[in-house]
Structure formats: C-alpha cells, structure tokens
Symmetry: C2
Amino acid sequence: MNVFKFVSPEIIFGPDTIWECGIHAVRLGAKRVFVVTDKGVRASGWLACVLESLAKNGLEYVVWGDVSPNPKDYEINCGSIQYIENSCDSLLAVGGGSPIDAAKAVALLVSNGGKLSEYEEVDSITRPLPPIIAVTTTAGSGSEVSQFSIILNAPEKRKMTIVSKSLIPYVSIHDPNLLETLSNQSMIYSGVHVLTHAIESYVSKGATPMTDLFAINAIKLSANSLRQVKGGSRSKELNHCLAMANLNAGLAFSNAILGAAHAITHQISGWFDIPAGIVDAVLLPHVVKYNLSANRVKYSNITEALGENITSIEDGSDRVIDAIASLFRELELPDKLSDLHVNLNLYPILAQNIIKDICLVANPKQMELNDVIALLRRAY
Amino acid sequence: MNVFKFVSPEIIFGPDTIWECGIHAVRLGAKRVFVVTDKGVRASGWLACVLESLAKNGLEYVVWGDVSPNPKDYEINCGSIQYIENSCDSLLAVGGGSPIDAAKAVALLVSNGGKLSEYEEVDSITRPLPPIIAVTTTAGSGSEVSQFSIILNAPEKRKMTIVSKSLIPYVSIHDPNLLETLSNQSMIYSGVHVLTHAIESYVSKGATPMTDLFAINAIKLSANSLRQVKGGSRSKELNHCLAMANLNAGLAFSNAILGAAHAITHQISGWFDIPAGIVDAVLLPHVVKYNLSANRVKYSNITEALGENITSIEDGSDRVIDAIASLFRELELPDKLSDLHVNLNLYPILAQNIIKDICLVANPKQMELNDVIALLRRAY
C-alpha cells in the first residue's frame, strides 16, 4: 500500500493515425516544427507521410534527419543549435527510440540550457519544454510514452539516463501500419525489447498495481506475437498486437522504471554501440536467475503469461528461466555476450558505470559491483 | 482494429497523499485557489486538511463550500462569479462527483464564457481551462480522472453531459484513507457505482484494449470489496482496494464512455434529485438483459470477473444477469424504480431526454424511444 504516481501522454493508437500528426501539432500551437528522425526512417517512406501531414496543416518545418543509433551528447548539442537557429517552436520525432530520445534531449537543452549531464538526477528539469509529438516506427523502445531519454556521454562512453515527467511527449502516435516496413528480424528484435521492458518493469521495485496491469498484458501479447513472427507470419493483426504490447510495456516501465538487465544493457550498448534490445535479451535469463528469490509470485505469473501451464507458484517460478530461455532459443537469439563482441577485459570499467545507472536502483534485489561483474562473466 | 485515443490526468495514489495538494498547486503556478466542496466534506474534516496543505505552501484560497448533490446550472453561474470576483487562478475540488463536476464547469465558464448548454457537443471547448486539482473523498464518480462534467439544466430538469479532454483535472489525488469517513452504506453505494461504471464501459461501443484492462480489473476489485464491506469488514486494505477499483473504472469510462444504464440514470437522478449510484444499480440488470446478445464474450468475462466459475462463453453470458442480480440482492440494494419514488407517469418525458444523452450512443445495442420506455416499465 505504497504511494505511487502514474503519468501518460495523450495516446493516439490505430492504423493511419500517422496522418494525424499535423492536426495535433496545430492544436499544440506549433508554427515551425523541428522534425527529428534517422536514415532508416527516411528510407522507409514514413518521414514523407509526416511531412505531408505537417504541410497540409499549414505548418513550416525543418528536418534534422541523421540521428545515430545510441544518440550522442555532441549530436544533441548540434541539434539544439539547429533548433534555435531555425526559430522552431515544437518538435516531432519519428522513428524508434533513438530519434525520440534525441528529440527529448534537444527539447530539454533549448528550454532549460546547460549540459545534459546536469539533468541525470530524477526530476531535475525546472522549466517547461516545447511541445513534443512522437510517432513510433518500431515497437521496441517505448520512448514515445516514457519519462526517459537515454543519451551517450561520448567522452566517458557512458549512457546517461534522464528521467522526468517533462520528457513525456505531449502526444504519442502509435500507427501499427508503420511496422510493415520492418524486416522479420527487426520485428523479432523489437518484440524481444518489448518483452524485456515488460518483464523488468513487472518485477521492479517501482511496480504498482497500475503498471502491473500493463506489464503482464505486454508479456502475453509480445510472447504470442514473437512466436507467430518467427513462424513466418506477418499481418495487420500481428502488427496491431505488437504495437499494443509496446504501448503497454512503455506505460509500465515509464512509471515503474526497469532493472538490472537494462542498467547493464545501457552501458554495454553505449560503450560498444550495439542495439540495446539484443543485449537485453542475452542478459535477461541471468538477471532473472539473480533476482528470482525476491518475488516468486511475480516470476510465476511471468511463466504463465509466457504461455506455460503452471501447477503452483513454486512450479511457475522454478520454470521462469527455462520459459524465457526456451522462447529466446526458439527465436534464435544470441545467448552470450561474447557473440556480441563485448570485450571481457572492460568489465571492471563497465561495472563502475552500471552501478551508477538509475535502473539498478529499481532492481528487485540489491546488486553490488561484485555481483554485476559476476553476472557479466556468467553471461559472457 | 479501430483507432482509439487514451487520456489520463497525472495520478497520485496512496495513503496521506491528500497532504500533497498544496505542492501540486504551487507546481501548477497557482497563487489563489478556488476550493470547491460540499457540506458533507466540510463536516468530515478533509477540507481542513486540504486548506492546511494550501496554507503551508503559501497559497491563498477562497472556499466555495455548498455544492449540492446533482449540481445545478444556476449554482455554477454563482460559482463562476465568485471565482472571478476573488481573482482566483486555479481550482481545487475536494469531494465526490458533485464538487468535482461543479469545479470543472466553473473552470469552463470562467475561461470560455457563454452558457454550459453551449458545450454539450463532444470536444467543443476551445480555450484552455485554469488548472484543476481533484481530491476524491469517495470511490464512486470517477470524475477526478474523467473527461466528463454532468450538470443539471434546472429549467429543463435535464442533465447535461459535457465531454472534453479539457475537463480532465491536471492532477488527480486518490487517498484511500479518505474513505474512512464513509458509512458502510455509503461504501456500498460507492462500490456499486464503480461496478456499474466498469461494466458499462467494458461493453461500450467506445471500449478499447486499454480501457478493457482497467474495466475488468475494476469489476474484480469492486465485487470483491463490496462483499467484504457487506460482511461487516472495514480496513485500510479494503479502502485501498475500492479506491483502486474507482481509479480503474474512472480511466475506463472516461475513455470508453458508458451506456444505457447511465444515460437513463442521468435523467432520472436529475429529475428526481436522487443519488446516481443507486439508480444505476436498479437499472443495470435490465440493461444487461437488453444488451446481452450484442457481446456474449464480454458478458461472459463479466460473470467470471464477478467471481463465478463458468464452463463456456454461452454458460458465462447466460448467467451474467443472475450474477449481477444476486450480488445486488446480497448487498440489499433496492431493485425497482418504484422503491426510489420515481413517477411512472413521467416516463415519456424522461425518455425524450434519455435518447439525447451522449451515453446512449455508446450502448452496445441501439436503443430507440420505445425501447427506453419499455425498459423503464420493466424496471418499475
């Protein structure tokens, strides 16, 4: 019976809602929109839809279109200068987590000034941000509904997690049709990212009865969609299902925070510039093994949500690692950090950054430096 | 796979969160707060807590403390004049649905002008409202999270339902301790109100996968709490459970709208000045009987959520009316409109207003004037 808070953007979900982004920008008072995206989205054709919708609604825009995966602090500084030089008054991010996180960070700098590293403490943003609209083209990061922006501190090769209600986009658009341009492989990586978000937020110390509803639903939906995509299916229904899983997982982790798998992933993906979703998946079974005793009831519920029949809480929780690992084997995911070309010798340095990551605070079981290093070795 | 939207206020939930209202008012830029409440809340002592929190945070306030049950349009006009004459800049409603709906309507008039009847069309509010904080002292109306404000058009004896995103409070505070001052009877009426909100929003034409999660959870939680309260239990855990049910049902119906039971209740409770929750309960079994064929799967899920074991969708949906009626008998609720001193001769006039009520549009099965009159006769 703890106190909790729950925040959510205005959510627009459904086929063809990408065409609504111009209307929402007008409603939010935008005149000149800073459009943040990346190369992949430009190639997919979705950027063109967004720009057409803005133009149809009489809006001017500037496109900042080369955000890199794992966006870097120096990129954000450049973006902020462009936003100001072009006299923009609002932002529209279209893409996966990288463009959306980058747009949030630009919005933060242009309104509050200073350096991103000054905002690493939770809720340390004081001045209001310009309106942000997020259009997600993947089903993975959840950034379009979350309080998080994760940016690489490039000189330190360390990911900074900035957490604040102010970073929640004003409007979050979830158009399942946008998943059509993802390859089967990308759909699987997206879905696994959703699943790890859902599992970590469900057992997080910050979990609440509200986030639990979303997390457990996201586990069911993502596990089910992943199996079908792996089986060769692609359909509008599957896109819908995975987009809904992503929305649910995003609302869960935005309000419940995550855990050790994400704390570790942030730092590994940042250092080696590897996509976060795949690192998460390698780590998850090891993290669950470490955490299991902290909440057997919830781990048993996870086993059930993954589609297994269980006979008791003991049975369900005993089988959770197998359930996750067997799903990941079915999906043919890498299962060792060494497969991702992570350098074992760097573990002591990485571990120093990992124990400072805000997600580690929410992990259901306390984790010290030595525990992190031991876990990294087991996952190698 | 329809398009849907989902909106929610910032939610603060938990014991003693009533003391946070001053902090949130400061954060929203308030200097002079218009506090809206009623006689019962003043007597309960909760108003004093709210005022203490405002004063501690250096805020000035004016108390408008006599909102009536089923608030009337002429009251709102008086409240608006007081708000303006006292140079207020924000509102804090503390109470059940009546003070919260009244605060929303005052906020609407002082910012957008005109008459309330000009805003009966969905989303017809154009200018931003001053910040509203809602502190709910009951677990029934859900107004503290909803897009609705329901005000009696006194000359016409007709309830007006105003629906707009702009009416969602900025911050909604749910402190389960506040239920301690409710009598057992009031707890039961509150819980039944929550249950009818949850059931009607679950089968509404406006239901979405997001609102379904909340609605089905609210059915489980409220049915369970109601049985315990009737059995003589009162505890912090039960208050927590019912407050959570109310929050979930409120988020469900705010986004999914309701159905025929509420359309009819609005007009009966408005005309005869009877508490809405109890009229709902009398009508619900009759409305479910009328609607049953429209969605057997969902009605079967409701039977299960009410705590019954079911063997199939047919079995579950066949037994939903019995499940509801038997719970209501257990709670010793009135089961005929005649018990509420509703005048049979007025049915034709009431029915004219009922078919104009916005909630009827969302009812899962089309309802014409004759259907409404026939249902009213059966419920007499």
